[in-house]
Amino acid sequence: SLSDRLQSTFKRLKGQGKLTENNISDTLREVRRAFLEADVNYKVTREFIERIKVRALGQEVLGSLTPELQIARIIGEELTQLMGEKAEKIRIAPSGPTVVMLAGLQGAGKTTVAAKLALRFRKEGRKPLLVAADVYRPAAIKQLQILGEQTETPVFSMGTEVSPVDIAAASVKEALAHGHNCVIIDTAGRLHVDETLMDELRQIKERVEPTEILLIVDAMTGQDAVNVAENFNTDLEIDGVILTKMDGDARGGAALSIRHVTQKPIKFISVGEKIEAAALEEFHPERMSSRILG
């Protein structure tokens, strides 16, 4: 683990007296390697290491009798600051139904998350409505309908011949008409570089004015996470992120990259395929940090 590897670099720091660029380079190299192996973006890693270096060579460590402890503390602090505060809740609309729109790349886990959110909202005493706005993927509507049945949540669908923008708009009317105080819009997976489909999301946002727009990201995403998050955020101004497939062993460095480039909170993590309450957890920044550090 990184802390084991750091122990040996720290041993070399003991008795070195003043910390210099030279004698902390081993330590910085170990942290850098850990980050890159954990899929943290290259540039994000570089900036992070740079901040560690500046602080390590600065006043707070100067003259310390235990520089290695200071550096460990600095790494921990910088990581916590980057990872963000404790999980933020999903905002509730001040009036009218709370509309949550899910977006993300193909296969990220949106439809599964939609059902899990419906379950969570029901447990909180709310009355959710699931919306089948993916008219492209074969059997996408059927998939959501089956999940709706499993979670005893009604699914609003207008088939595959109506535009997702119209479906989304109609779903809010439906919610108002039938007393649903929560609307969860499942959208089709799309590339952040697909102009037409990104424009479709912008149009849904404009028509429906969602209370929350959540970017769904696969925890095993590599260096590209930064591009995806940046584009979705620029186009839609997302309110938060949900990391999926966290029940695997991907270190999840994408979380750091996404936090760095969007400054938006990671609200939940999805930890399993089953649609059950336990499979959607609140995000814990310290747990994510130690997972990334390995």
Partner: protein, 277 residues
């Protein structure tokens, strides 16, 4: 990179950055950079354009020669498709079926994902589009028994190819990996040499975790080829270099979109070009 620049540490660092940002990974990048530095020294190179060709040849060395997916006369030639959740298995099977049918083969597909909501319906639509026949199990069928029945159906109907879809699964779930091994064994018992082709489908956006996926899936059922999907995005899929080195299976196909014909043979040279595009 190609413009006439001197080969210096700055250039080396820029190359390292490109490789890492392409998901090539730390170890593989270090190996590549060592090999490149060695050749720069031994060949006395000084210009960046010379460096570019050395770098590309070193990556191609690691990737090996291009190995296309070939249908052999096994009646049926059986192809098992596996990989983690959402990688693109079902969609890739639709594309493969379409390609084989265009080549004049008779194709049967087995709905081996009996777990996920609407998995069989999704596959059914793809088979319809491709012109392939789908073999589904009854309610609550076991994947292994669906596959067993599909092999018999394929023999009976004189199919040239049988493609087996499986449920997505994380390699960290031992019971699910055991289920895959069982499917492999059942196939072998139902038809000599089956599965003749075992394709690991890897999402092009995945990072270093693909290495673990490849290793564990390979232990469950020996992989004969890799398919990298979603390369129509901005991810480079550089992790396949390490995957190839780890399990010795060549990348045979790439997915470049969500339509029936969005499948291409993997070409190492094009892949390397794209890394530095």
């Amino acid at each position: 990179l190609r413009v006439g620049r001197r080969i210096d540490e700055d250039l080396m660092e820029e190359i390292e950055e490109i490789l890492i940002q392409s998901d090539v990974g730390v170890d593989t990048t270090l190996t590549l950079m060592d090999n490149v530095r060695e050749r720069v020294k031994s060949e006395g190179l000084s210009d960046s354009s010379e460096l570019a060709s050395v770098l590309k040849s070193e990556i191609l060395n690691l990737l090996g020669v291009d190995v296309p997916l070939q249908i052999k006369d096994e009646k049926p030639y059986t192809i098992l498709v596996l990989g983690v959740n959402g990688a693109g298995k079902t969609t890739t099977i639709g594309k493969l079926a379409s390609r084989f049918i265009a080549d004049g083969h008779r194709v049967l597909v087995a709905a081996g994902d009996t777990f996920r909501a609407a998995a069989e319906d999704q596959l059914s639509i793809w088979c319809e589009r491709a012109g392939a026949e789908l073999i589904r199990g009854g309610e609550n069928a076991e994947p292994a028994s669906v596959v067993f029945d599909a092999i018999h159906a394929a023999k009976h109907r004189d199919a040239d190819v049988l493609i087996v879809d499986t449920a997505g699964r994380l390699h960290t779930k031992k019971p699910l990996m055991d289920e895959l091994s069982k499917i492999g064994r059942v196939m072998g018992r139902a038809h000599t040499g089956a599965p003749h082709e075992v394709l690991l489908v890897v999402d092009g956006t995945v990072g270093q975790n693909a290495l673990m996926q490849a290793k564990i899936f390979n232990e469950a059922v020996p992989i004969t080829g890799v398919v990298v999907t979603k390369l129509d995005g901005t991810a480079k899929g550089g992790i396949v270099i390490a995957v190839n080195a780890e399990i010795g299976a060549p990348v045979k196909l790439i997915g470049i979109g969500e339509k029936l014909d969005d499948l291409r043979d993997f070409a190492g040279a094009d892949f390397v070009e794209a890394l530095f595009a």
